[in-house]
């Protein structure tokens, strides 16, 4: 395991665009007065936007090039040519993305023409992004920790042996007892499950037989005839019932009286 010392750093990017680089003439340097910000590390150019009017006669050959030298590797970091040869002069507007090229690559810029014609009202604008660079930290020694070589860890993980005491024996007996109890409990559980399976089978086997027996049962004799007979041909009024009904009515009247 390696332990490193590092600072957490973050910065929101700032986006913007430069002044008209061609305002002062056909060539310029990528200075603070042109860019509007200091050309410091963290500043990246993301695009070039230019506009000019090509003034020329249609048959004439005429080219216009906008370019920036590469201040680090030589050559050009940006170069765009418009060939107006055989075309009518016109105002052109172009926006060319260049990715995020660090400002240190951007050398002097210029507008170069060839042939017969001129450039009027040129404007060259650079779009940029600035991200504050991470502060440089001094190199700190790295320390590697290996737990397997730590004497304290080695001592703590060494195997130890000691004679058995009465407490150890008692503990061992308890553990054996617990093991036996557990075995018993598992056996009981297994037995319960087996029984449950058996009961399910029995119920499944019994139910259809029982129901069939009920459905198939027959009543001996075939039919039960009515056996009640009216003796004498007259039915007397039940006087006791009449009295009871009279009492009920009186009782109801008394109850209703309470609510009037």
């Amino acid at each position: 395991m390696a332990v490193y010392s590092a600072a957490c750093f973050s910065s929101d990017p700032i986006y913007g665009y430069s002044n008209n680089a061609a305002a002062g003439g056909g060539s310029w340097s990528m200075s603070e007065s042109v860019l509007g910000v200091a050309p410091v590390p963290g500043l990246d150019i993301s695009g070039v936007l230019y506009r000019y009017t090509a003034v020329k006669e249609r048959p004439d050959d005429f080219t216009v090039t906008i370019q920036n030298t590469n201040a680090v590797d030589g050559g050009y970091v940006f170069r765009e040519t418009d060939d107006w040869s055989g075309r009518t002069g016109q105002t052109i507007v172009k926006q060319i993305p260049v990715g995020y090229v660090p400002i240190r690559f951007w050398g002097d810029g210029e507008i170069v023409t060839t042939g017969v014609g001129s450039v009027e009202d040129p404007a060259v604008v650079y779009t940029y992004r600035y991200i504050e660079p991470e502060p440089e930290l001094p190199d700190l020694p790295t320390y590697t920790y290996n737990a397997l070589e730590d004497p304290a860890v080695i001592a703590a993980t060494e195997a130890t042996e000691r004679p058995e005491t009465d407490e150890d024996e008692a503990k061992k007996d308890d553990e054996d007892e617990e093991k036996k109890d557990m075995e018993k409990a598992l056996a009981a559980l297994q037995s319960g499950l087996e029984m449950a399976k058996g009961q399910d089978g029995l119920l499944a086997a019994m139910n259809p037989v029982t129901m069939t027996q009920y459905y198939a049962a027959t009543i001996p004799g075939g039919a039960y005839q009515e056996t009640v007979m009216l003796d004498g041909g007259q039915i007397k009024d039940n006087k006791r019932a009449f009295r009871s009904m009279a009492n009920d009515r009186l009782h109801n009247q008394m109850v209703e009286e309470q609510w009037r």
């Binding site: 090509a54 249609r58 107006w84 009518t88 002069g89 016109q90 052109i92 507007v93 172009k94």
Partner: protein
């Protein structure tokens, strides 16, 4: 025979299916109003978009991402869309010209354009953006220099992108 017929019928019904096909065509030609025009009133009987007379030229922008596929058709106004009641004749003049281009290949759009009535038609032969400016002037009184009645005047420039 009956059975076979029924079988065929079932098989025919099961195989029938309607499979939809959808597609979206995204226009490769977009029109946008970059500058809305304003009529200046240099004298009582003239309304004009000429900047020198206090007007503002409307600018319409065409963004084309497919070359040789579209035509730009722009018509300057010949009537007011909003105005007070006008009893006399209005004389209209106007023009459409390329203001700016984003590609050298568009440099000859004006030269190659076809003009008829109040309309100018451009072949959009290059990809990129073209800005067109439209001039419009209205004179009241049929040459008699009659003053425009007071009020608000509006007119409309029609800009179209037509597939070739």
């Amino acid at each position: 025979m009956k059975k076979i017929l029924l079988t065929c019928l079932i098989a025919g019904t099961a195989q029938a299916a309607e499979v939809p096909i959808e597609g979206t065509v995204q226009s490769r030609c977009l029109i946008n109003t970059d500058v809305a025009g304003v009529y200046g009133n240099p004298n009582a009987y003239t309304l004009t978009t000429t900047p020198a007379d206090g007007g503002v030229l409307p600018v319409v922008r065409y963004d084309v991402s497919l070359a040789d596929a579209y035509k730009a058709r722009i018509t300057y106004p010949t009537e007011f869309s909003t105005s007070p009641s006008l009893s006399d004749m209005v004389t209209w003049t106007g023009s459409v010209t390329v203001l700016e281009v984003s590609d050298v290949g568009m440099a000859d759009y004006d030269t190659d354009a076809v003009e008829y009535d109040q309309t100018k038609e451009y072949d959009l032969t290059a990809t990129g953006t073209t800005w067109f400016k439209v001039a419009s002037t209205a004179t009241y009184g049929g040459g008699g220099n009659k003053a425009f009645p007071g009020g608000t005047y509006r007119s409309v420039v029609v800009a179209e992108c037509i597939a070739q």
